[in-house]
């Protein structure tokens, strides 16, 4: 279900984009994680599940993301990618709890 991601020029979008595309300081709301099931599960266990708010702290590969108060060094590539939405409304769609 992964299609080529369109180039995003505006800051807020209801479209899902890859977490990697967030700029430092920007936050997004996780709406899907795709890829190898074991790795996806590991990321979910760390709290990166649907509805979680993530903040890009240092972009690049690997990047550092803020998930609540924890900081994770993550390299996301062809193995797994996290789809986030940056619009504030998008987060409300997820009924799942956001780990703070």
């Amino acid at each position: 279900m992964m299609t080529d991601l369109p180039v995003i020029n505006h800051d807020e979008t209801a479209e899902g984009i890859s977490l990697m595309m967030l700029r430092p300081g920007q936050t997004g709301c996780v709406c899907d994680i795709v890829g190898d099931s074991k790795l996806v599960h590991r990321l979910r266990e760390m709290g990166l599940c649907c509805g979680a708010e993530v903040k890009m702290i240092r972009s690049g590969s690997p990047c550092i993301i803020g998930l609540g108060r924890q900081r994770l060094g993550v390299r996301l590539d062809e193995l797994a990618s996290v789809i986030v939405k940056t619009s504030t409304d998008a987060c409300r769609e997820c009924q799942v709890h956001t780990p703070r």
């Binding site: 690997p62 924890q70 799942v96």
Partner: protein, 755 residues
């Protein structure tokens, strides 16, 4: 388990996420009464401690930190087995202490929800309270206790706060018995499926006798079977083939039903558990809306910076390695002195003969040459544990991931490879943090290619003897220093190429995903560091005491037997007796100049005798046997047998060279080294009379030692860590092949360049 007489020890198991201060708590509770081992068949560290509370002994079991109780590997299954009392060598836990970090409470409670389902008495030790408070968090502990139904004790292990209350709580939990199973974590549909599966499996196990409780599998295991994709979990239920196939079918069906009911496996687990955590903590945890920058964030802005962070990392490494070499000099000197004194004592107490030689050269010499590295290992481990405990190592791994990925590895392999520059043994032991088995194996296989400190004596000897003291590039660089650097570089480059190759062939897998928690920076606990350093050092000593001991004796035998015939050395022996007689008379007459002269001559004769023996020994013969193979490298049989003799430990080659070139084994000091250097420069090929050594030969020897696998301890550690004999064998064969090929190339290139 109330007993009328003396109650047995209370088994208390510690578990929690990584970076929660669990090790600090374990060290604070058990003090020095801890021992470390391995669970049979896996490389999971088995840490046990003891303490006494209110007249009862406690057995503390520290399980490795983990984010989840969903076993992904045999190693992680051990954790589950210990908790469920299915590990044969440990009693089932009476109480579980779940260590929960306050500053990451949601993720920690996710893990706690898994513990809760085991149906054991649980006590929560709440750590990192000061960090949470500093970040403006407020936790209503009393409210949480009511909701979770387990005691929560806030502690500060390093200061010792809360430890007594924790012990009291654990004691009470032990007396109260089982904690109630929390049934409301998963949706009803899921729970029904688990119950059905559980009763089916229970029906398959042996019939229940009258009065006995039905022994179905633990509910948690059934739940895992339904949630986890792997098939290895069937092992838990001890089923026959028919039942196993039936179970696989039933699980598939159940998963399909759940998917249509909106509970897709495995998402259902994380979703349900985090929802449960949210329900439990709702209204009890206060978090400031807009979080300011924490100290950790401010430090990270610098320490994880691509340029500044990398420069700081380089500086840290330089300081660390110079510390390993300079601080270790003193204790190494002491150890040398002690070993020397023991040898001296043995020498004076025993008559000359096989036994004395066995003790001196075999036992003391062999084991001593390994123990000498203990200070370096100790210091390296001390510094690395300190950096790890304060949270810096995660940043180093983060910075290095960018480079490591080019060779198919992740940042996690960096630390083990780094420590291998001091010694491959701690490096290989440090690979335990690498989750992916293939990555871990790759790292283990390339770690011995890093130039460890045992290679240094070989490099120094060869460089001092044959590389001219010339400065190049207008005096900026020294040729000798450059050669040394080049030797280190050879190891690194070949290791990188090998990693690349291994990950594309026999250990093929995608570049591992890198997910690493960057824990908040904190002051390390000295107690934890010392405890860990002691563990590792003892581990190393144990190794030295067993395998190295055995191999040293074998090598001694190969050098000592068969004894050379008296005819071969008759002339020398006659000379020796004559000199000894005149030495005695010179001593009697007090002619000190004469004594010194005679002693010198006598020493030469002894060295020559030793040389004759060496040539005649099995090892010398082996050297001659392999001469055709080593001749292309520019070596003669003497170098060949020195290389064979250094199989147990490569640094031994220097001493063997000393014996072979008739200057005695005592070449450690400056004068000895000078004598050896002179002898080596004078050595010639018997048939042509050309000098044996030149720069290409020196280079080929150095390159050979840079890449070869001449270290029995490393091979032994690889065997233990991989639980097999194939990998050390593979390691030995591939490294020796590489060493030969590269030594050949170095010699040929050197000759072509006319060096």
């Amino acid at each position: 388990m109330a007993n009328d007489t003396v109650p047995g020890p209370l088994t208390v198991t510690l578990i929690g996420n990584p970076n929660t201060g669990k090790s600090t708590l374990f060290a604070a509770l058990s003090g020095v009464n801890q021992r470390v081992g391995n669970y049979p068949g896996v490389t999971v560290e088995k840490k046990l401690g003891e303490l006494e509370f209110q007249g009862r002994k406690w057995l503390l079991v520290d399980l490795p930190g983990t984010y989840s109780l969903a076993p992904r590997s045999p190693d992680e299954m051990v954790t589950v087995d210990v908790l469920l009392g299915r590990q044969a060598d440990l009693p089932p836990p009476d109480v579980v202490i779940c260590v929960v970090a306050a500053n990451n409470i949601e993720r920690n409670l996710y893990f706690f929800s898994q513990i809760l389902e085991l149906g054991l008495p649980v006590v929560i030790a709440l750590t990192m309270n000061d960090l949470a408070t500093a970040e403006g968090m407020k936790i209503d502990i009393a409210g949480l206790v009511r909701r979770l139904g387990v005691p929560i004790v806030p502690i500060h292990a390093r200061r010792g706060d809360g430890l007594e209350s924790l012990k009291v709580a654990v004691n009470q939990a032990a007396q109260a018995g089982t904690a109630s199973l929390s049934q409301d974590i998963f949706p009803e549909a899921f729970q029904r499926e688990v119950e059905q599966l559980q009763s089916v499996i229970a029906g398959w196990s042996k019939p229940v006798e009258a009065g006995e409780k039905p022994h179905g599998p633990p509910r948690y295991l059934v739940e895992r079977r339904l949630l986890d994709a792997g098939v290895h979990e069937n092992r838990w239920f001890a089923l026959n083939d028919t039942h196993e196939q039936q179970l696989n079918l039933l699980v598939d069906e159940a998963r399909q039903r759940l998917a249509t009911a909106g509970c897709r496996v495995p998402e259902i687990e994380t979703v349900s558990r985090y929802q449960w955590v949210a329900r439990q903590t709702a209204g009890l945890i206060e978090i400031p809306e807009e979080m300011g920058l924490t100290t950790t964030d401010r430090l990270d802005a610098l320490l994880t910076h691509r340029l500044w962070g990398s420069l700081i990392l380089a500086a840290v490494l330089v300081v660390m390695f110079s510390a390993v070499f300079s601080w270790a000099q003193w204790p190494m000197g002491w150890i040398e002195f002690i070993i020397g004194s023991i040898s001296g004592f043995v020498e004076s107490q025993l008559p000359e003969g096989a036994l004395r030689s066995l003790l001196l050269e075999g036992v003391i010499g062999g084991v001593g040459s390994v123990i000498i590295f203990l200070p370096q290992i100790f210091i390296l481990f001390f510094l690395m544990t300190a950096l790890e405990e304060c949270g810096y190592m995660a940043r180093a791994a983060y910075l290095m991931d960018r480079i490591m990925i080019r060779f198919g590895l992740s940042g996690r392999s960096f630390i083990p490879l780094l420590s291998s520059f001091a010694c491959a043994i701690p490096g290989i032991m440090a690979t335990r943090v690498i989750e992916n088995r293939r990555d871990r194996l790759t790292t283990i296989l390339i770690a011995p290619l890093m130039s460890c400190s045992a290679r240094l004596p070989v490099y120094t000897l060869m460089i001092a003897a044959f590389i001219p003291q010339k400065s190049i590039l207008g005096g900026i660089l020294q040729l000798q220093g450059l050669t040394l650097f080049f030797m280190y570089l050879v190891g690194v480059v070949v290791a990188a190429a090998m990693a690349w190759l291994l990950k594309r062939t026999i250990l093929k897998s995608d570049a591992p995903m890198f997910v690493m928690e960057m824990p908040a920076y904190q002051r390390p606990s000295l107690r934890v560091i010392i405890a860990r350093v002691l563990d590792r050092s003892l581990d190393f000593l144990q190794n030295a005491g067993t395998i190295i001991f055995a191999v040293s004796i074998v090598m001694w035998g190969a050098l000592y037997y068969p004894r050379s015939s008296p005819e071969a050395s008759r002339e020398l022996s006659a000379n020796q007796s004559r000199l000894e007689a005149s030495l005695d008379s010179a001593r009697a007459s007090g002619d000190s100049a004469k004594v010194a002269e005679l002693e010198g001559e006598l020493g030469d004769i002894e060295s020559k005798l030793a040389g004759i023996q060496q040539r005649n020994s099995f090892l010398g013969r082996a050297g001659r046997l392999i001469e055709p193979f080593v001749k292309p490298l520019g070596w003669d049989w003497r170098i060949g047998s020195a290389v064979i003799s250094s199989f147990p430990a490569r640094e031994v080659v220097v001493a063997t060279m000393g014996v072979i070139f008739d200057v005695g084994a005592d070449v450690e000091d400056e004068a000895g080294q000078k004598r050896l250097t002179t002898a080596m420069r004078a050595a010639t090929w018997p048939d042509t009379g050309k000098p044996l050594f030149n720069i290409p030969v020196a280079l080929s020897i150095m390159v050979f030692f840079a890449l070869c696998s001449q270290c029995i301890s490393t091979l032994a550690v690889i065997a233990r860590e991989t639980q097999s004999w194939q990998w050390p064998l593979f390691s030995f064969i591939y490294m020796t092949t590489l060493a030969y090929v590269f030594a050949l190339a170095a010699y040929r290139c050197g000759m072509l360049l006319g060096l």
